[in-house]
């Protein structure tokens, strides 16, 4: 067990210097956009949301830097264990979880309400990255070697689906599959899996909860019930559309401030941003996200080890999925599944997950040149 420290000697100071400060800056700018929006959501006050979000970000950012400075091989070594802990926590949700909004998603750790499905998003990428790091391309092509990663993806996905949390389950399945894709699993196998998934849809549909069915149905035709479940989507489109090209101005978003917009500080915060800053503001935020993704990709490409590559691009893809699903949802092209806008939406767990994820990407960046053997020993 263990790793030999046979890479370049990286002392603390040098590590700090080699940290990808550009990415850290981009993350901070993006989070600051979130603070501004929460300030606006409170009607021009840092209380009660913006200030808490700043504190959370401060704590999360510190954690991110700590994780970044820890040797990447440490993370690889503990990848499976982290995954196992996350899985146990997910199981714990089943038995001792806290119920809220009709779904059981949290376990209380006394001081902190933890959402294990969030932890799992990172843990799954880590575990899969470690698995494929140790696998040659030939082995990757063999069906038998595909079974363990499928189990790694399948177990948490099913547990999360049972909570029930359709959005996160899809994110986990998609995020995991992307790592498989990056690792070189044949495309026809994905096609096969997709076909199987489509075939299983009728069965899955019958297993869905009423509110989940309702959300999908209203997504297909939101105008059918403007005062009921379609309300969120309609109001979101109205707020967003009325923002126009340049928006109504900071703190001037009428729809958001008059409470027409539901959950404006969490899932629908993008709508508020697009109402106040218009298309220009919305596209600018997307630009920031794209820059962050490019940084993550660059880090992935520059990593000399497969683990780092898979971790960087895998986590970046999870990050992308959050963005795409959230914006797609508020603009009415995807069903409302309750996925926050990364780094912007109010909420502790998602922020923490993302910052831990970026911590790992930064760690890959610092330790891009370390040698990691393909297998133990």
């Amino acid at each position: 067990m263990g790793y030999r420290d046979d890479g370049p000697d990286l002392r603390f100071g040098r590590k700090l210097l080699s940290l990808n400060w550009g990415l850290v800056l981009l993350i901070t700018i993006t989070a600051s956009v979130g603070f501004a929006m929460l300030y606006s959501a409170a009607g021009g006050d840092v209380q009660p949301w913006a200030i808490r979000q700043i504190i959370r970000f401060g704590g999360g950012a510190f954690l991110m830097l700590v994780i970044a400075l820890i040797d990447i091989r440490f993370w690889m070594r503990w990848a499976y264990l982290i995954y196992a802990v996350a899985l146990v926590l997910l199981l714990a949700v089943e038995f001792v979880g806290t119920t809220g909004m009709g779904a059981t998603r949290w376990v209380s750790l006394g001081f902190f309400n933890l959402q294990p499905s969030e932890v799992m998003k990172i843990a799954l990428v880590l575990a899969l990255a470690r698995y494929f790091h140790g696998l040659s391309l030939e082995d990757t092509g063999r069906i038998t070697y595909l079974l363990p990663p499928l189990a790694l993806i399948g177990m948490p996905t099913l547990l999360v689906l049972k909570q029930p949390d359709l959005g996160t389950a899809l994110l986990l399945a998609a995020g995991g599959s992307i790592v498989l894709f990056l690792a070189g699993v044949r495309l026809w196998k994905f096609a096969l899996a997709l076909g199987a998934a489509l075939a299983a849809m009728p069965i899955a549909w019958s297993q869905l909860h009423e509110y989940q069915k309702g959300r999908i149905m209203t997504f297909l035709n939101p105008e059918s019930d403007p005062l009921g479940a379609g309300y969120h989507i309609m109001q979101s489109k109205i707020a967003l559309g009325s923002g126009g090209i340049s928006g109504k101005g900071f703190l001037e978003g009428t729809q958001s401030h008059l409470n027409f917009l539901p959950e404006m500080r969490t899932d629908f915060i993008f709508t508020m941003l697009a109402e106040e800053f218009g298309m220009v503001g919305g596209l600018a935020l997307m630009g920031l996200y794209i820059l962050i993704l490019i940084y993550a990709y660059a880090i992935g490409f520059r990593s000399r080890h497969q683990f780092g590559r898979l971790v960087a691009v895998g986590i970046a893809t999870t990050f992308f999925l959050y963005i795409f699903i959230n914006i797609g949802m508020v603009t009415g092209i995807l069903p409302v599944v309750g996925v926050p806008l990364p780094l912007i939406s109010y909420g502790g767990t998602a922020m923490l997950t993302l910052l831990i994820g970026f911590g790992l990407i930064l760690s890959v960046s610092i330790h891009r040149d370390v040698e990691i053997p393909r297998s133990r020993g």
Binding site: L182, A183, Q255, N259, F260, M279, L293, F301, P373
Partner: protein
């Protein structure tokens, strides 16, 4: 080893990562396109929707005009309506809150069922009315306990109040919710669509709807998603409804109603100079305030089924054979046609034979020789059979109409009957039979097809008393100049004889109403009794003696009537009284008439002239 594996893996990773990146770029482009579509292409439409969302146009109901009596005392006004609403989303349980409310003010099972039904139909934040018209005390009690009553909202609205209640219910009428029919054929007034808006449904409330209603104001308010008003953007004040002032004297109205009670009947008091209706009482009545609170179906059915017809305004819609009160008209017709003067004499032996029919006098054995004055004073029927036959139905009918019968007189009151003044042409058309000579005789004593309303009888008395002008009743003061009534066109001499007859009916030695004369000097009343038959008296009954009214059931008894004016020498007021199935006019109607006339003279504003209050802004110049 490592190198070989890396050589194989790295390009695959790079290729696939780039593929993935391309896909992400495409998806981002899709999001951008979507934003362009929503914010630029459809932006204007969403801006409009956003304003619709945000801006509520609220109608402001104008305060309804008041109805005042001649001295400015309100008879229909607005008062604060203390009510309790419930907002379901603020309750823990609607039922529980209602239970607690029930401990403070009674909440009937019906109310409860209605509230729960409304709760299930409306959105959770829409307030639902629970109870209305609470007293200030109840309201205050609920207010104090409101922390224990989650979801309860207190509200002060406006509701109509009728201080005179049952005393003027028929005339004033009441307001009620806007009906589907009104909405359909509505005048386009948006107020009609305002929830809870009420319009006049009966009486003056209905006929003066246009004056009383006023015009809607509006208020543009910014609301949040819960419908809560955040701020007012603009406000246009409406025009409050205009007051109307009646000629009615509320005090006299009350006295007249009380004088009629407990009988069912009607009384109208008119000023003989200008036609002002000082009182128009109809008993039994209904309390319009009951319709405000919302009258129950059983109560409504009870009012409808009551054989004494409390919902009918008998002063304008009650049609009665005028009986002997019509005799002045017959006498005037005869004198006007120079058929029979005041000196014309007829011998009354109790019977008048025409063809094979015998017509009887109310006095079985007859009055003996009668001239006009005797005949009026003692109400001899034979005399009037005689002169009616001489003058003919056509001329009697014309005279009846000149005196105000057979026509509506107060177009501003809905539901007025024109009564009926028959003539041969009418009978031909309506019944399809030829006029019979005997019918002229019966008309001569105010019976048969002839029907008059108490308002018409009062008008007749007023015209007789006035002598110069054909005054018409007036109920509502208007701004336009008083138009002088057209001349009556009757000979002074004929009128003098008739009035003298009426004087003697009350004050003469043998007058039928002598028992009920007014003795106070200067207040003397002249009048005429009437007892109009409701049923036919058979030959057999005639022979065995006509049944006394007390011996037959109420609905077959004679109507008792009285028309009068006073003071005799300088007439100022005229009145009519009808006591339905009251028996004889002298016994049942005359005392009521005297009581009302005395009160009228008591209140006579020779001392206190009518004090007009401004019903519209003063006109300059």
């Amino acid at each position: 080893m490592r190198g070989r594996v890396e050589k194989a893996r790295y390009p695959v990773f790079t290729r696939r990562a780039l593929m993935l990146g391309g896909m992400k770029a495409a998806l981002f482009a899709g999001l951008g396109a979507r934003m362009y579509y929503l914010q630029v292409i459809e932006g204007d439409q969403y801006k409009m929707l956003a304003d619709e969302n945000r801006i509520n146009l609220a109608l402001l109901a104008p305060p309804r005009g008041r109805i005042l009596d001649r001295r400015g005392v309100p008879v229909a006004t607005n008062r604060q309506n203390f009510r309790v609403l419930i907002v379901p989303e603020q309750t823990k349980s609607v039922e529980e809150t209602l239970d607690r409310l029930n401990q403070i003010v009674p909440v009937s099972d019906q109310t409860r069922a209605r509230v729960l039904r409304d709760v299930s139909r409306k959105r959770r934040f829409v307030p639902i009315s629970v109870v209305d018209n609470l007293t200030w005390e109840e309201f205050a009690r609920i207010n104090v306990r409101s922390p224990d009553l989650p979801g309860i909202q207190l509200d002060v609205g406006q509701t109509r109040d009728y201080p005179l209640g049952v005393y003027l219910g028929h005339t004033v009428g009441y307001v009620g919710p806007v009906s589907e029919k009104d909405l359909k054929q509505g005048d386009g007034d948006p107020l009609l669509e305002l929830p809870g808006f009420r319009t006049g449904r009966r009486g003056l409330e209905r006929s003066f709807e246009g004056t009383l209603r006023g015009a809607a104001g509006n208020q543009r308010v910014e609301v949040n998603a819960f419908g809560r008003v955040i701020r007012e953007l603009s406000r246009t004040e409406g025009r409050p409804g205009s007051d109307i002032q009646l000629t009615i004297d509320a005090r006299l109205q009350r006295i007249a109603t009380q004088a009629l009670r407990p009988e069912s009947g009607a009384a109208v008091v008119m000023d003989v100079h200008n036609g002002d209706v000082l009182a128009m009482a109809s008993t039994p009545g209904f309390d319009p305030n009951a319709f405000n609170v919302g009258i129950g179906n059983s109560e409504w059915q009870r009012l409808l089924r009551n054989s004494r017809k409390p919902l009918t305004d008998k002063t304008i819609a009650g049609r009665y054979p005028p009986g002997s009160t019509f005799k002045m008209a017959v006498a005037l017709a005869a004198m006007d046609a120079n058929v029979a003067g005041a000196a014309h004499r007829v011998f009354c032996n109790g019977k008048h034979v025409l063809g094979n029919h015998t017509f009887h006098c109310w006095k079985r054995w007859g009055h003996g020789w009668m001239d006009l004055n005797d005949a009026l004073t003692q109400s001899c029927d034979i005399y009037f059979y005689d002169i009616a036959r001489r003058v003919g139905v056509e001329k009697i009918a014309v005279m009846a109409e000149r005196l105000g019968l057979g026509q509506t007189l107060l177009p501003e009151l809905p539901g007025e009957s024109a009564g009926l003044v028959p003539n041969p042409a009418w009978k031909e058309g309506a019944i399809g039979e030829a006029w019979q000579g005997g019918e002229t005789l019966i008309m001569g004593i105010g019976q048969g097809y002839l029907l008059a309303t108490p308002l018409q009888l009062a008008t007749m008395a007023a015209r007789l008393a006035n002598g110069e002008r054909a005054v018409s009743p007036r109920l509502v003061f208007r701004d336009e100049q008083d138009v002088e009534a057209p001349p009556l066109g009757l000979s002074k001499d004929a009128l003098r004889h008739v009035r003298q007859g009426m004087n003697d009916v009350v004050n003469g030695k043998r007058g039928t109403a002598r028992a009920h004369r007014i003795t106070r000097e200067g207040w003397e009343m002249a009048g005429k009794t009437g007892t109009s038959q409701v049923r036919r008296i058979s030959r057999a009954e005639r022979e065995s003696g006509v049944l006394k009214n007390e011996d037959i059931e109420w609905r077959s008894r004679d109507h008792a009537l009285f028309v009068a004016f006073a003071p005799v020498d300088k007439p100022r007021y005229a009145l009519s009284v009808v006591v339905e199935h009251g028996g004889s006019g002298s016994a049942a109607a005359a005392p009521v008439a005297r009581a009302i006339m005395e009160a009228t003279l008591e209140l006579d504003p020779a001392a206190n002239r009518r004090q007009r209050v401004a019903v519209s802004p003063e006109r300059e110049g």
